[in-house]
Symmetry: C2
Protein backbone atom coordinates (compact mmCIF):
# COMPACT_ATOMS: atom_id res chain seq x y z
CA UNK A 1 0.00 0.00 0.00
CA UNK A 2 0.98 3.59 -0.60
CA UNK A 3 0.11 6.02 2.20
CA UNK A 4 0.32 9.80 2.17
CA UNK A 5 -0.66 12.80 4.24
CA UNK A 6 -2.15 15.60 2.23
CA UNK A 7 -3.89 18.93 2.30
CA UNK A 8 -6.80 19.81 0.06
CA UNK A 9 -8.55 23.08 0.85
CA UNK A 10 -8.92 23.05 4.63
CA UNK A 11 -8.71 19.27 4.93
CA UNK A 12 -5.53 17.70 6.31
CA UNK A 13 -5.78 13.90 6.30
CA UNK A 14 -4.09 10.62 5.56
CA UNK A 15 -4.82 9.09 2.19
CA UNK A 16 -4.30 5.86 0.25
CA UNK A 17 -2.82 6.19 -3.24
CA UNK A 18 -3.84 3.69 -5.95
CA UNK A 19 -2.51 4.56 -9.39
CA UNK A 20 -3.22 8.28 -9.88
CA UNK A 21 -6.05 8.27 -7.36
CA UNK A 22 -5.98 9.31 -3.73
CA UNK A 23 -8.69 8.17 -1.31
CA UNK A 24 -9.05 10.14 1.91
CA UNK A 25 -9.32 8.16 5.15
CA UNK A 26 -10.44 9.09 8.63
CA UNK A 27 -8.03 8.12 11.40
CA UNK A 28 -4.52 7.08 10.52
CA UNK A 29 -2.66 3.99 9.37
CA UNK A 30 -1.09 3.39 12.82
CA UNK A 31 -4.11 3.43 15.12
CA UNK A 32 -6.82 2.45 12.63
CA UNK A 33 -8.59 4.11 9.70
CA UNK A 34 -11.70 4.05 7.54
CA UNK A 35 -11.81 4.87 3.83
CA UNK A 36 -14.11 7.82 3.04
CA UNK A 37 -16.02 8.40 -0.19
CA UNK A 38 -13.68 11.30 -1.04
CA UNK A 39 -11.32 10.54 -3.91
CA UNK A 40 -9.31 12.81 -6.14
CA UNK A 41 -6.23 12.78 -8.36
CA UNK A 42 -2.96 12.80 -6.41
CA UNK A 43 -1.84 15.68 -8.61
CA UNK A 44 -4.69 17.86 -7.29
CA UNK A 45 -3.64 17.85 -3.63
CA UNK A 46 -0.65 19.19 -1.74
CA UNK A 47 1.38 16.30 -0.32
CA UNK A 48 2.54 16.85 3.28
CA UNK A 49 5.33 15.20 5.24
CA UNK A 50 3.93 11.63 5.36
CA UNK A 51 4.25 11.28 9.15
CA UNK A 52 5.17 13.62 12.02
CA UNK A 53 7.36 11.34 14.12
CA UNK A 54 7.05 11.18 17.92
CA UNK A 55 10.84 10.64 17.86
CA UNK A 56 13.03 11.32 14.84
CA UNK A 57 16.01 8.93 14.71
CA UNK A 58 18.91 9.04 12.27
CA UNK A 59 21.68 6.46 11.82
CA UNK A 60 24.15 9.15 10.76
CA UNK A 61 27.42 7.77 9.36
CA UNK A 62 26.39 4.32 8.16
CA UNK A 63 27.96 3.68 4.72
CA UNK A 64 31.65 3.04 4.09
CA UNK A 65 32.18 5.13 0.98
CA UNK A 66 30.53 8.14 2.61
CA UNK A 67 32.86 7.84 5.60
CA UNK A 68 36.02 7.42 3.51
CA UNK A 69 35.26 10.11 0.91
CA UNK A 70 34.22 12.72 3.47
CA UNK A 71 37.31 11.96 5.61
CA UNK A 72 39.57 12.24 2.56
CA UNK A 73 38.22 15.73 1.77
CA UNK A 74 39.07 16.87 5.29
CA UNK A 75 42.48 15.18 5.10
CA UNK A 76 41.42 12.95 7.99
CA UNK A 77 41.57 9.21 8.58
CA UNK A 78 38.22 7.49 8.03
CA UNK A 79 36.60 6.32 11.26
CA UNK A 80 33.86 3.72 11.05
CA UNK A 81 31.31 3.64 13.85
CA UNK A 82 31.92 0.70 16.20
CA UNK A 83 28.24 0.17 17.02
CA UNK A 84 24.74 1.09 15.84
CA UNK A 85 24.54 4.19 18.06
CA UNK A 86 21.55 6.09 16.73
CA UNK A 87 21.33 9.90 16.57
CA UNK A 88 18.48 12.38 16.36
CA UNK A 89 17.05 14.96 14.01
CA UNK A 90 14.29 17.50 14.73
CA UNK A 91 10.71 17.90 13.50
CA UNK A 92 11.00 21.66 12.93
CA UNK A 93 13.20 20.93 9.92
CA UNK A 94 10.77 18.59 8.10
CA UNK A 95 9.34 19.66 4.73
CA UNK A 96 7.40 17.60 2.17
CA UNK A 97 8.34 16.89 -1.43
CA UNK A 98 8.28 19.89 -3.77
CA UNK A 99 8.83 22.45 -1.01
CA UNK A 100 12.07 24.44 -1.17
CA UNK A 101 15.17 23.78 0.91
CA UNK A 102 15.98 27.30 2.15
CA UNK A 103 19.68 28.03 2.74
CA UNK A 104 20.10 30.74 5.38
CA UNK A 105 21.82 33.97 4.45
CA UNK A 106 24.83 33.28 6.68
CA UNK A 107 25.42 29.65 5.63
CA UNK A 108 28.61 28.88 3.69
CA UNK A 109 28.43 27.29 0.23
CA UNK A 110 29.00 23.89 1.90
CA UNK A 111 25.34 22.95 2.14
CA UNK A 112 24.99 19.37 0.88
CA UNK A 113 22.33 16.74 0.19
CA UNK A 114 22.31 13.25 1.72
CA UNK A 115 19.79 10.93 0.08
CA UNK A 116 18.59 8.08 2.26
CA UNK A 117 16.00 5.44 3.01
CA UNK A 118 13.60 6.21 5.87
CA UNK A 119 12.11 3.39 7.94
CA UNK A 120 8.69 4.13 9.51
CA UNK A 121 7.86 2.17 12.68
CA UNK A 122 4.38 0.63 12.76
CA UNK A 123 4.16 -1.13 16.11
CA UNK A 124 5.28 -0.24 19.59
CA UNK A 125 8.27 -2.40 20.41
CA UNK A 126 10.82 -2.99 23.14
CA UNK A 127 13.56 -5.62 23.16
CA UNK A 128 12.99 -7.21 19.80
CA UNK A 129 15.51 -9.51 18.17
CA UNK A 130 17.05 -8.79 14.77
CA UNK A 131 14.88 -11.58 13.36
CA UNK A 132 11.70 -9.90 14.67
CA UNK A 133 12.73 -6.31 13.85
CA UNK A 134 11.06 -5.89 10.45
CA UNK A 135 7.72 -7.12 11.86
CA UNK A 136 7.54 -3.74 13.62
CA UNK A 137 8.11 -1.66 10.48
CA UNK A 138 5.08 -0.02 8.88
CA UNK A 139 6.76 1.00 5.64
CA UNK A 140 9.44 3.05 3.92
CA UNK A 141 9.84 6.56 2.61
CA UNK A 142 12.72 8.80 1.46
CA UNK A 143 14.73 11.48 3.27
CA UNK A 144 17.25 14.15 2.34
CA UNK A 145 19.50 14.84 5.36
CA UNK A 146 20.60 18.32 4.21
CA UNK A 147 23.72 19.44 6.09
CA UNK A 148 25.72 22.66 6.41
CA UNK A 149 29.18 21.11 6.78
CA UNK A 150 30.95 23.98 8.56
CA UNK A 151 28.23 24.14 11.24
CA UNK A 152 28.14 20.35 11.42
CA UNK A 153 31.87 20.29 12.18
CA UNK A 154 32.17 23.52 14.18
CA UNK A 155 29.15 23.60 16.50
CA UNK A 156 28.94 21.55 19.67
CA UNK A 157 25.82 19.77 18.33
CA UNK A 158 24.08 19.28 14.96
CA UNK A 159 21.35 21.82 15.86
CA UNK A 160 21.71 24.17 12.86
CA UNK A 161 24.14 22.07 10.79
CA UNK A 162 21.43 19.43 10.35
CA UNK A 163 18.20 20.94 11.76
CA UNK A 164 17.85 24.39 10.28
CA UNK A 165 14.23 24.83 9.12
CA UNK A 166 13.64 23.04 5.74
CA UNK A 167 16.83 20.91 6.05
CA UNK A 168 14.88 17.63 6.38
CA UNK A 169 12.78 16.91 3.28
CA UNK A 170 10.85 13.65 3.75
CA UNK A 171 8.39 11.93 1.42
CA UNK A 172 6.66 11.81 -0.97
CA UNK A 173 4.71 8.96 0.68
CA UNK A 174 5.14 5.72 2.62
CA UNK A 175 5.14 2.36 0.84
CA UNK A 176 4.42 -0.80 2.82
CA UNK A 177 5.28 -4.45 2.09
CA UNK A 178 8.70 -3.79 0.56
CA UNK A 179 11.84 -5.86 0.90
CA UNK A 180 14.30 -3.19 2.08
CA UNK A 181 17.28 -5.33 1.10
CA UNK A 182 16.32 -4.99 -2.54
CA UNK A 183 16.22 -1.17 -2.59
CA UNK A 184 18.65 1.22 -4.28
CA UNK A 185 18.97 4.96 -3.64
CA UNK A 186 19.87 7.30 -6.50
CA UNK A 187 20.63 10.99 -6.00
CA UNK A 188 20.18 13.42 -8.89
CA UNK A 189 21.20 17.08 -8.93
CA UNK A 190 19.58 19.15 -11.69
CA UNK A 191 18.73 15.93 -13.50
CA UNK A 192 22.27 14.53 -13.40
CA UNK A 193 22.87 11.29 -11.51
CA UNK A 194 25.37 12.04 -8.73
CA UNK A 195 25.49 8.71 -6.91
CA UNK A 196 23.64 5.44 -6.57
CA UNK A 197 23.96 2.81 -3.86
CA UNK A 198 22.34 -0.31 -2.49
CA UNK A 199 20.55 0.11 0.85
CA UNK A 200 21.87 -3.27 1.99
CA UNK A 201 25.50 -2.06 1.89
CA UNK A 202 24.93 -0.22 5.18
CA UNK A 203 27.50 -0.75 7.93
CA UNK A 204 24.62 -1.53 10.30
CA UNK A 205 21.34 -2.69 8.76
CA UNK A 206 17.75 -1.88 9.67
CA UNK A 207 17.37 -5.06 11.74
CA UNK A 208 20.52 -4.31 13.73
CA UNK A 209 19.47 -0.73 14.48
CA UNK A 210 15.92 -1.58 15.50
CA UNK A 211 16.99 -4.49 17.67
CA UNK A 212 19.80 -2.58 19.40
CA UNK A 213 17.73 0.60 19.90
CA UNK A 214 14.85 -1.41 21.32
CA UNK A 215 17.03 -2.90 24.06
CA UNK A 216 16.91 0.54 25.75
CA UNK A 217 14.20 2.53 23.98
CA UNK A 218 10.56 1.89 23.24
CA UNK A 219 9.92 2.50 19.57
CA UNK A 220 6.49 3.95 18.85
CA UNK A 221 4.21 3.90 15.78
CA UNK A 222 5.19 6.76 13.51
CA UNK A 223 8.79 7.01 14.76
CA UNK A 224 11.17 7.32 11.83
CA UNK A 225 14.70 6.00 11.40
CA UNK A 226 16.80 7.58 8.66
CA UNK A 227 19.39 5.07 7.51
CA UNK A 228 22.26 7.34 6.38
CA UNK A 229 23.70 7.98 2.93
CA UNK A 230 26.56 6.58 0.89
CA UNK A 231 29.16 8.23 -1.32
CA UNK A 232 30.59 11.74 -1.42
CA UNK A 233 28.01 14.51 -1.26
CA UNK A 234 28.13 17.77 -3.19
CA UNK A 235 27.12 21.36 -2.54
CA UNK A 236 23.65 22.56 -3.49
CA UNK A 237 22.92 26.18 -4.31
CA UNK A 238 20.16 28.62 -5.16
CA UNK A 239 18.20 27.40 -8.19
CA UNK A 240 19.22 23.73 -7.89
CA UNK A 241 16.81 20.80 -7.88
CA UNK A 242 17.65 17.73 -5.76
CA UNK A 243 15.91 14.44 -6.40
CA UNK A 244 16.27 11.32 -4.29
CA UNK A 245 14.92 8.32 -6.11
CA UNK A 246 14.19 4.88 -4.66
CA UNK A 247 12.49 2.63 -7.25
CA UNK A 248 9.63 0.88 -5.47
CA UNK A 249 8.95 3.97 -3.38
CA UNK A 250 9.15 7.07 -5.59
CA UNK A 251 11.03 10.36 -5.87
CA UNK A 252 11.57 13.04 -3.22
CA UNK A 253 12.09 16.27 -5.15
CA UNK A 254 13.05 19.63 -3.65
CA UNK A 255 14.17 22.89 -5.21
CA UNK A 256 16.85 24.92 -3.42
CA UNK A 257 16.70 28.62 -2.67
CA UNK A 258 19.10 30.84 -0.77
CA UNK A 259 17.76 33.62 1.40
CA UNK A 260 18.75 37.08 0.22
CA UNK B 1 -1.64 29.71 36.32
CA UNK B 2 -0.75 26.10 37.02
CA UNK B 3 -1.37 23.67 34.15
CA UNK B 4 -1.17 19.89 34.20
CA UNK B 5 -1.99 16.91 32.04
CA UNK B 6 -3.67 14.11 33.92
CA UNK B 7 -5.41 10.79 33.66
CA UNK B 8 -8.53 9.94 35.62
CA UNK B 9 -10.21 6.68 34.69
CA UNK B 10 -10.24 6.69 30.88
CA UNK B 11 -9.96 10.49 30.61
CA UNK B 12 -6.66 12.03 29.51
CA UNK B 13 -6.88 15.83 29.51
CA UNK B 14 -5.24 19.10 30.40
CA UNK B 15 -6.30 20.65 33.69
CA UNK B 16 -5.95 23.86 35.67
CA UNK B 17 -4.80 23.54 39.28
CA UNK B 18 -6.05 26.04 41.87
CA UNK B 19 -5.06 25.16 45.42
CA UNK B 20 -5.85 21.46 45.85
CA UNK B 21 -8.43 21.48 43.08
CA UNK B 22 -8.01 20.44 39.48
CA UNK B 23 -10.46 21.58 36.80
CA UNK B 24 -10.54 19.62 33.56
CA UNK B 25 -10.48 21.59 30.32
CA UNK B 26 -11.26 20.67 26.74
CA UNK B 27 -8.61 21.63 24.22
CA UNK B 28 -5.17 22.65 25.43
CA UNK B 29 -3.42 25.73 26.74
CA UNK B 30 -1.52 26.29 23.48
CA UNK B 31 -4.32 26.31 20.89
CA UNK B 32 -7.24 27.28 23.13
CA UNK B 33 -9.29 25.64 25.85
CA UNK B 34 -12.60 25.72 27.71
CA UNK B 35 -13.06 24.90 31.39
CA UNK B 36 -15.43 21.98 31.95
CA UNK B 37 -17.66 21.42 34.98
CA UNK B 38 -15.42 18.49 36.06
CA UNK B 39 -13.37 19.25 39.14
CA UNK B 40 -11.58 16.96 41.55
CA UNK B 41 -8.73 16.97 44.04
CA UNK B 42 -5.29 16.94 42.43
CA UNK B 43 -4.41 14.05 44.73
CA UNK B 44 -7.13 11.89 43.14
CA UNK B 45 -5.72 11.88 39.58
CA UNK B 46 -2.58 10.52 37.99
CA UNK B 47 -0.41 13.39 36.78
CA UNK B 48 1.09 12.84 33.31
CA UNK B 49 4.06 14.47 31.63
CA UNK B 50 2.70 18.05 31.37
CA UNK B 51 3.39 18.39 27.63
CA UNK B 52 4.57 16.05 24.86
CA UNK B 53 6.98 18.31 22.97
CA UNK B 54 7.02 18.48 19.16
CA UNK B 55 10.79 18.99 19.58
CA UNK B 56 12.69 18.30 22.81
CA UNK B 57 15.65 20.66 23.22
CA UNK B 58 18.31 20.55 25.93
CA UNK B 59 21.03 23.10 26.64
CA UNK B 60 23.39 20.42 27.91
CA UNK B 61 26.51 21.76 29.63
CA UNK B 62 25.39 25.21 30.73
CA UNK B 63 26.63 25.83 34.31
CA UNK B 64 30.24 26.46 35.29
CA UNK B 65 30.46 24.37 38.41
CA UNK B 66 28.95 21.36 36.64
CA UNK B 67 31.57 21.66 33.90
CA UNK B 68 34.51 22.06 36.29
CA UNK B 69 33.48 19.38 38.79
CA UNK B 70 32.69 16.78 36.13
CA UNK B 71 35.97 17.52 34.31
CA UNK B 72 37.92 17.21 37.58
CA UNK B 73 36.49 13.74 38.21
CA UNK B 74 37.68 12.59 34.80
CA UNK B 75 41.05 14.29 35.31
CA UNK B 76 40.28 16.50 32.33
CA UNK B 77 40.51 20.25 31.76
CA UNK B 78 37.12 21.97 31.99
CA UNK B 79 35.83 23.15 28.63
CA UNK B 80 33.10 25.76 28.56
CA UNK B 81 30.81 25.86 25.53
CA UNK B 82 31.70 28.80 23.25
CA UNK B 83 28.12 29.35 22.07
CA UNK B 84 24.51 28.46 22.92
CA UNK B 85 24.49 25.36 20.69
CA UNK B 86 21.38 23.47 21.73
CA UNK B 87 21.12 19.67 21.87
CA UNK B 88 18.24 17.21 21.81
CA UNK B 89 16.57 14.64 24.01
CA UNK B 90 13.87 12.11 23.03
CA UNK B 91 10.19 11.74 23.92
CA UNK B 92 10.40 7.97 24.51
CA UNK B 93 12.31 8.69 27.72
CA UNK B 94 9.74 11.04 29.30
CA UNK B 95 7.99 9.99 32.51
CA UNK B 96 5.83 12.05 34.88
CA UNK B 97 6.43 12.76 38.55
CA UNK B 98 6.13 9.75 40.87
CA UNK B 99 6.91 7.18 38.15
CA UNK B 100 10.11 5.18 38.64
CA UNK B 101 13.39 5.82 36.87
CA UNK B 102 14.31 2.31 35.71
CA UNK B 103 18.03 1.54 35.47
CA UNK B 104 18.68 -1.17 32.87
CA UNK B 105 20.29 -4.41 33.97
CA UNK B 106 23.49 -3.73 32.02
CA UNK B 107 24.00 -0.12 33.13
CA UNK B 108 26.99 0.63 35.38
CA UNK B 109 26.50 2.25 38.79
CA UNK B 110 27.26 5.62 37.20
CA UNK B 111 23.64 6.60 36.61
CA UNK B 112 23.20 10.18 37.83
CA UNK B 113 20.50 12.82 38.27
CA UNK B 114 20.66 16.32 36.75
CA UNK B 115 18.00 18.66 38.14
CA UNK B 116 17.04 21.51 35.86
CA UNK B 117 14.54 24.17 34.87
CA UNK B 118 12.42 23.41 31.79
CA UNK B 119 11.15 26.23 29.59
CA UNK B 120 7.90 25.51 27.68
CA UNK B 121 7.38 27.47 24.46
CA UNK B 122 3.93 29.03 24.04
CA UNK B 123 4.04 30.79 20.68
CA UNK B 124 5.50 29.90 17.32
CA UNK B 125 8.57 32.05 16.81
CA UNK B 126 11.36 32.62 14.33
CA UNK B 127 14.11 35.25 14.56
CA UNK B 128 13.24 36.83 17.86
CA UNK B 129 15.60 39.11 19.74
CA UNK B 130 16.79 38.38 23.27
CA UNK B 131 14.52 41.18 24.47
CA UNK B 132 11.47 39.52 22.86
CA UNK B 133 12.39 35.94 23.76
CA UNK B 134 10.41 35.52 26.99
CA UNK B 135 7.22 36.77 25.26
CA UNK B 136 7.20 33.38 23.49
CA UNK B 137 7.45 31.31 26.67
CA UNK B 138 4.28 29.69 27.97
CA UNK B 139 5.63 28.65 31.36
CA UNK B 140 8.12 26.60 33.32
CA UNK B 141 8.37 23.08 34.69
CA UNK B 142 11.10 20.82 36.09
CA UNK B 143 13.26 18.13 34.47
CA UNK B 144 15.68 15.45 35.64
CA UNK B 145 18.19 14.74 32.85
CA UNK B 146 19.15 11.25 34.11
CA UNK B 147 22.42 10.10 32.53
CA UNK B 148 24.42 6.89 32.40
CA UNK B 149 27.90 8.41 32.36
CA UNK B 150 29.82 5.52 30.76
CA UNK B 151 27.37 5.38 27.84
CA UNK B 152 27.31 9.18 27.64
CA UNK B 153 31.10 9.20 27.24
CA UNK B 154 31.57 5.99 25.26
CA UNK B 155 28.78 5.93 22.68
CA UNK B 156 28.89 7.96 19.49
CA UNK B 157 25.67 9.76 20.55
CA UNK B 158 23.63 10.27 23.72
CA UNK B 159 20.98 7.77 22.58
CA UNK B 160 21.03 5.40 25.58
CA UNK B 161 23.26 7.48 27.88
CA UNK B 162 20.55 10.14 28.08
CA UNK B 163 17.47 8.66 26.36
CA UNK B 164 16.95 5.19 27.80
CA UNK B 165 13.23 4.78 28.61
CA UNK B 166 12.34 6.58 31.91
CA UNK B 167 15.55 8.69 31.91
CA UNK B 168 13.66 11.98 31.39
CA UNK B 169 11.29 12.69 34.30
CA UNK B 170 9.42 15.98 33.63
CA UNK B 171 6.76 17.73 35.70
CA UNK B 172 4.84 17.85 37.93
CA UNK B 173 3.04 20.71 36.09
CA UNK B 174 3.69 23.94 34.20
CA UNK B 175 3.54 27.30 35.98
CA UNK B 176 3.03 30.48 33.93
CA UNK B 177 3.85 34.12 34.75
CA UNK B 178 7.10 33.44 36.60
CA UNK B 179 10.27 35.48 36.56
CA UNK B 180 12.82 32.79 35.62
CA UNK B 181 15.71 34.93 36.88
CA UNK B 182 14.41 34.58 40.43
CA UNK B 183 14.26 30.77 40.45
CA UNK B 184 16.50 28.35 42.37
CA UNK B 185 16.87 24.63 41.77
CA UNK B 186 17.47 22.28 44.71
CA UNK B 187 18.25 18.59 44.28
CA UNK B 188 17.51 16.15 47.10
CA UNK B 189 18.51 12.49 47.23
CA UNK B 190 16.61 10.43 49.82
CA UNK B 191 15.61 13.65 51.55
CA UNK B 192 19.17 15.03 51.78
CA UNK B 193 19.95 18.26 49.95
CA UNK B 194 22.71 17.50 47.44
CA UNK B 195 23.02 20.82 45.64
CA UNK B 196 21.24 24.11 45.13
CA UNK B 197 21.84 26.74 42.46
CA UNK B 198 20.37 29.88 40.94
CA UNK B 199 18.91 29.45 37.44
CA UNK B 200 20.33 32.83 36.43
CA UNK B 201 23.93 31.60 36.88
CA UNK B 202 23.67 29.76 33.55
CA UNK B 203 26.51 30.28 31.07
CA UNK B 204 23.87 31.07 28.44
CA UNK B 205 20.47 32.27 29.64
CA UNK B 206 16.98 31.48 28.39
CA UNK B 207 16.80 34.66 26.30
CA UNK B 208 20.13 33.89 24.61
CA UNK B 209 19.14 30.31 23.77
CA UNK B 210 15.70 31.18 22.41
CA UNK B 211 17.00 34.09 20.37
CA UNK B 212 19.95 32.16 18.90
CA UNK B 213 17.92 29.00 18.22
CA UNK B 214 15.19 31.02 16.53
CA UNK B 215 17.64 32.50 14.00
CA UNK B 216 17.66 29.06 12.31
CA UNK B 217 14.78 27.08 13.81
CA UNK B 218 11.09 27.74 14.21
CA UNK B 219 10.09 27.13 17.80
CA UNK B 220 6.60 25.69 18.19
CA UNK B 221 4.05 25.77 21.01
CA UNK B 222 4.79 22.90 23.37
CA UNK B 223 8.48 22.63 22.47
CA UNK B 224 10.56 22.31 25.63
CA UNK B 225 14.04 23.61 26.39
CA UNK B 226 15.85 22.01 29.33
CA UNK B 227 18.35 24.51 30.72
CA UNK B 228 21.09 22.23 32.10
CA UNK B 229 22.20 21.58 35.67
CA UNK B 230 24.86 22.96 37.98
CA UNK B 231 27.22 21.28 40.42
CA UNK B 232 28.60 17.77 40.66
CA UNK B 233 26.02 15.01 40.26
CA UNK B 234 25.95 11.75 42.19
CA UNK B 235 24.98 8.17 41.43
CA UNK B 236 21.42 6.99 42.04
CA UNK B 237 20.60 3.37 42.78
CA UNK B 238 17.75 0.95 43.36
CA UNK B 239 15.53 2.18 46.19
CA UNK B 240 16.60 5.83 46.00
CA UNK B 241 14.22 8.79 45.75
CA UNK B 242 15.27 11.85 43.73
CA UNK B 243 13.49 15.15 44.21
CA UNK B 244 14.08 18.28 42.16
CA UNK B 245 12.58 21.29 43.84
CA UNK B 246 12.01 24.73 42.33
CA UNK B 247 10.08 26.98 44.73
CA UNK B 248 7.42 28.77 42.70
CA UNK B 249 6.92 25.66 40.55
CA UNK B 250 6.90 22.56 42.76
CA UNK B 251 8.72 19.27 43.22
CA UNK B 252 9.48 16.59 40.64
CA UNK B 253 9.80 13.35 42.61
CA UNK B 254 10.88 9.98 41.19
CA UNK B 255 11.84 6.72 42.85
CA UNK B 256 14.65 4.67 41.33
CA UNK B 257 14.55 0.97 40.57
CA UNK B 258 17.10 -1.27 38.90
CA UNK B 259 15.94 -4.03 36.58
CA UNK B 260 16.75 -7.49 37.85
Amino acid sequence: MKWCRFQSGRTVAYGIIEGDTLTEVTGNPFDGYTRTANSTFVSRVKLLVPVIPPTFYAAGVNYRLHVTEMAERRGAKPEFPPAADVGYRANNALIPTDEPIVIPRDATDQVQYEGELVVVIGKRCKRVSEAQALDHVFGYTIGNDVSERTWQRGDRTFWRGKNTDTFKPMGPWIVTDLDPDSLRVTIRLNGKEMFSYAVKDAIFGIRQFISRMSQYLTLHPGDVLWMGTDGATENIKDGDLVEIDIPGIGTLRNPVVRER
